[in-house]
Amino acid sequence: MSLLQVKNLVVEFPHRHGTLRALDDISFDIAPGEILGVVGESGAGKSITGAAIIGLLEPPGRIAGGQILLEGERVDQYDFEQMRKIRGKRIGAIFQDPLTSLNPLHTIGHQLIETIQTHLPLDDKQARERAVALLRDTGIPAPEQRLDHYPHQFSGGMRQRVVIALALAAEPKLIVADEPTTALDVSIQAQIITLLKSICHQHQAAVMLITHDMGVIAETCDRVAVLYAGRIAEIGPVHELINRPAHPYTVGLMAAIPDISQDRERLNQIDGAMPRLNAIPSGCAYHPRCPQAFDKCRSQRPDLMNAGATRAACWLHEVQTTTQRESA
């Protein structure tokens, strides 16, 4: 059974000029222990997806349709108090900025122990031992002493390790990580990615990794979903998607990324920009920028359909279309 099932999720932001659809009917699953990457450019809706799942959508944003099922239990309509019990215990969160994720006024030991005791029936001594073990697992040297330090006494990379420890404190089954390495230096990024992979494997936690960096996705994830204008453009195993992308947007995206291993005269560029939420084109949202768009793309929105090893929301992969075009 899937750990997390998102079915036809719709997230809207009512605005005085009209309602904006930040997420428009997206569906995906995460299996236990799996690492799913959610990648997209700014405005695609990846952070909102994470926020919707954790139940931290900023008002006036709200879930306007669809379902979110955590281990078979519907959580999208839970109120604040119910979500609070789930957060930490069953879903952990890692955000981008380690500086603001930690309370500067409390020692990290205090924050860890508080989280542990909120969700697990442990006394102070047991909670402290667990906190030390977690810090050790995340690679922080001398954890017994560091437990009593304040966040400002840690460097950026160390703080992110503490945040990871916090996220894992109550042994959640799912971790939602929103751009966990973006604010870090390249060398630290590598350390954190390695840590995230190993520790989630060790604690058997699934991860939903939200990022704009395809390189990080390639290194860490098992599967990846590419978001475009609030919809999933393509979803599938990470190597297939990177090496044999099926959706024209994914193709364009892969070609636009500068490659460190070879020289290229020009980077492939996708002309235009992602549409704003109040101006999403009809049919397939990508059609104005797509070199292979045809009539159906302009009028009908494609669902995710099988395209080789991945699934892509693109009429090019509709079986009848191909035969029709061949015979025309």
Binding site: E219, P258, I260, Q269
Partner: protein, 330 residues
């Protein structure tokens, strides 16, 4: 032929001491931040030098030294044979400034939100007296906007009406207004999405070819650097550790830090590989290690590395500051 830009032992020290009263009461010494500590390089006309490094390495400070936003604490900058900072202080300084321009990282903060785009692009023209009449000004602004891929009609709009990529184009248009020869680009695409980054990088390359521009390109992204540069300089804690042609650096990185950087970059091709990232983090620039700044993290460090600071020396066509390499140990 002498290079267009020549930096000689540039250094920039910031005084970040506590206020005088606090220092006296708490008996603290002055705190000095050596953001840039002796950097030398040359850029030939029409070429691109990229400076890479992580946070605290001083590359942004170098950029600001080169455009005259800071005056160096030590060393000098030669531009086309002139001592740039000396000239900046004189009346000819304005003329020199028209030859050197800068593009910034943040597309949202680099344009005045209260000004129309046409006024933003026109400002350098007005400041340097490059347009005699209002109609000539308008024409020139229109030309600049179309040269960067926007429309002349976009001039009446305000910056907030444009996307990040378009704002960077406006910044480029502004930078090109005075027909500069040298452009310093401080992480111009770091804040942009991948597809937009591709557009802007392609544009910058095209402009370089058309106008014969020379670039200093600052970035932390080695893949982008590979795409745009001719020469690459790697910085660590205010010092240049390796300076080489692009091909040489990527094919055969010599300095341990360069190797570590290249190893650390998540690659899309071989994923899931087990690799051991280098331990440690960039030390606090206020309290740099003795000797070679990289020695605490370097697997090849020896006693000499802990005590003696390596100098940037030429070695087999590249420049490198590493005892181990110079001694032939690696």
């Amino acid at each position: 032929m002498t290079a267009l830009v020549q930096a000689n032992d540039l250094a920039m020290t910031f005084d970040v001491s506590a206020p005088w009263l606090n220092r006296v009461l708490e008996r603290k010494p002055r705190t000095l931040l050596h953001a840039v500590d002796g950097v030398s390089f040359e850029i030939e006309r029409g070429k691109t030098l990229a400076l890479v490094g992580e946070s605290g390495c001083g590359k942004s400070t170098v950029a600001r030294l080169l455009v005259g936003l800071y005056a160096p604490s030590r060393g000098n900058l030669q531009f086309d044979g002139l001592d740039a900072h000396a000239v900046f202080k004189t009346r000819q300084g304005l003329q020199l400034r028209s030859r050197i321009q800068m593009i910034f990282q943040d597309p949202y903060a680099s344009l005045n939100p209260r000004w129309r785009v046409q006024d933003i692009v026109a400002e350098p023209l007005i400041e340097h007296g490059l347009a005699q009449t209002a109609s000539e000004l308008k024409r020139r602004v229109g030309e600049l906007l179309t040269a960067v891929g926007l429309s002349a009609f976009d001039g009446v709009k305000y910056p907030h009406q444009f996307s990040g990529g378009q704002r960077q184009r406006i910044s480029i248009a502004r930078a090109l207004a005075t027909h500069p020869e040298f452009l310093v680009c401080d992480e111009p695409t770091s804040a942009l999405d991948v597809s937009v980054q591709a557009q802007v990088l392609n544009l910058m390359k095209d402009l370089q070819r058309q106008l014969g521009l020379t670039y200093l390109f600052i970035s932390h992204n080695l893949a982008v650097v590979r795409h745009v540069s001719d020469q690459v300089g790697v910085m660590y804690l205010g010092r240049l550790v390796e300076l080489a042609d692009k091909q040489a650096l990527f094919a055969n990185p010599r300095h341990p830090y360069t190797r570590m950087l290249l190893e650390a970059i998540p690659k899309m091709s071989d994923s899931g590989r087990g690799r051991t990232p280098v331990q440690g983090e960039v030390p606090n620039p206020l309290n740099p290690p003795t000797g070679c700044a990289f020695h605490p993290r370097c697997p090849h460090a020896n006693e000499r590395c802990r005590t003696e600071r390596p100098h940037l020396l030429a070695l087999a066509g590249i420049k490198i500051a590493c005892h181990a390499v110079q001694e032939g140990r690696i």
